[in-house]
Subunit: 258 residues, 2 copies
């Protein structure tokens, strides 16, 4: 089977023009098939402030009301996605920007209202790989912003980490899929203040111990849940670390084991 | 040869949610291959005001500075394009949103500075039909917002009418291409105040006469130039009118003749 790298980048890369340009330059040189998934960085918050739109918070959780969804759509699918596409093209990496609505690639369901109404937030139901496969086979790289749709006309704000893992799983039967979560640290750390204290391998057992002893913080849990979800569903390799893990064989990072 | 309809819609359709929904509902039922090109409507102006960004005008001509380009990218490629894509999907029309940067489909050149520096405005140099063809052959409808790129990393604001005619010409060797400019009138009118005074056919000779006698106003000239450019370059059919011309065989509209 051919290798497909699904790579998620977060705010720390998107927020800095030079860092993003450097990342895209290296990303474009990856020879295997690849899919990029990006979040929004702090640009959405900045724009909301400029437009005097308040960030809605209920019980300490962010809520995506209609105005916020509009901003996310403009910033993620507009400004950030198209800036990335134009830069990749300048590096001879032929890319097309996607939301889950484009090509009907990712269908989600508006999160049901229990204690909190999260608004226009989508939980992924299915990934359709057909169109993406067609593009990959023609040397075109899909670049996803963190938006999906419900197939009934509604766009939905969707967690970028979850999108990356669901896309990876969607291709796991036809590709040798590797999933990379790029963020600001060298991986999962034993000591949060010490960037060299990388835990190089985590499996379901050590994960449990690390969590119970408080070494893994609350903030890392959703990301690690996505990692284990992927590795349990036939994704071959799941890694967390700085983008260097993709390009520099000497760099340290965390690998998730089944 | 198969038929390809290239359809451009303007602000009068985009600005009204119900009108847009109705149009997309009918558009999705068009059985031939089709490409949609849309401008931005007045949402970009509204957003610019909300963000206190002034519309820059030099010698009476709009200028696209960096802030304006950002707004256009957010509104055209983000909000409007993705709203259209989600609605088309809900009508079982599988569509993918494009700028000229996506798939490297439309390359343009920043307009050279003569009397006026128009800023980040692109004049189209080439249309690459390969990726679009691949999608059309797989029953996927490309939807373009009026943005292109220079292949060196720069997005450029581009006239939507011109994009539509250049896309139409790009496919004219492989498809029987029909180009439709949908706007708020029934076509080119003899009397601007009388919507039934449609001139049903215009050719290069009658165009000259109509212009010299002042029947065709300045505002229609760029649109008609795009029409004649297309018809001279093997586009089989070029029409101007209300969207009804596409769906209702009784409606009147203007057809451009070679």
């Amino acid at each position: 089977m051919k290798t497909l790298k699904v790579i998620k980048i977060g705010g720390n890369i998107i927020n800095n023009q030079d860092v993003l340009a450097d990342f895209l330059n290296q990303f474009s040189k990856i020879e295997s098939h690849k899919i990029l998934v990006h979040g929004g960085g702090n640009l959405a918050t900045t724009l909301a402030k400029e437009m005097n739109i308040e960030v809605k918070v209920v019980n300490g959780r962010r809520v995506t009301d209609r105005a916020t969804l509009d901003i996310i759509t403009m910033v993620y699918a507009g400004k950030i996605n198209k800036t990335i596409i134009a830069q990749l093209q300048s590096q001879y990496c032929n890319a097309i920007g996607f939301t889950g609505a484009d090509g009907n690639t990712i269908i989600s369901k508006k999160r049901p209202v229990k204690d909190i109404d999260f608004g226009f937030v989508g939980d992924i139901e299915s990934v359709n790989t057909e169109v993406l496969n067609l593009l990959l086979e023609n040397q075109i790289t899909p670049v996803f912003s963190a938006i999906t749709h419900n197939a009934k006309g509604q766009l939905l704000n969707t967690n970028a980490d979850t999108m990356a893992s669901e896309i990876a799983i969607g291709f796991s039967k036809t590709y040798n899929v590797e999933l990379y979560y790029c963020f600001e640290k060298n991986g999962v750390l034993k000591d949060i203040k010490e960037d060299n204290s990388v835990i190089e391998d985590i499996n379901a057992n050590t994960y449990k111990t690390l969590f119970e002893t408080g070494i893994i913080s609350e903030g890392m849990l959703p990301k690690l849940d996505n990692c284990f979800h992927a590795i349990k569903n036939e994704v071959k390799k799941v890694c967390i670390g700085k983008p260097e893990m993709l390009f520099n064989s000497n760099s340290k990072f965390t690998t998730i084991q089944a």
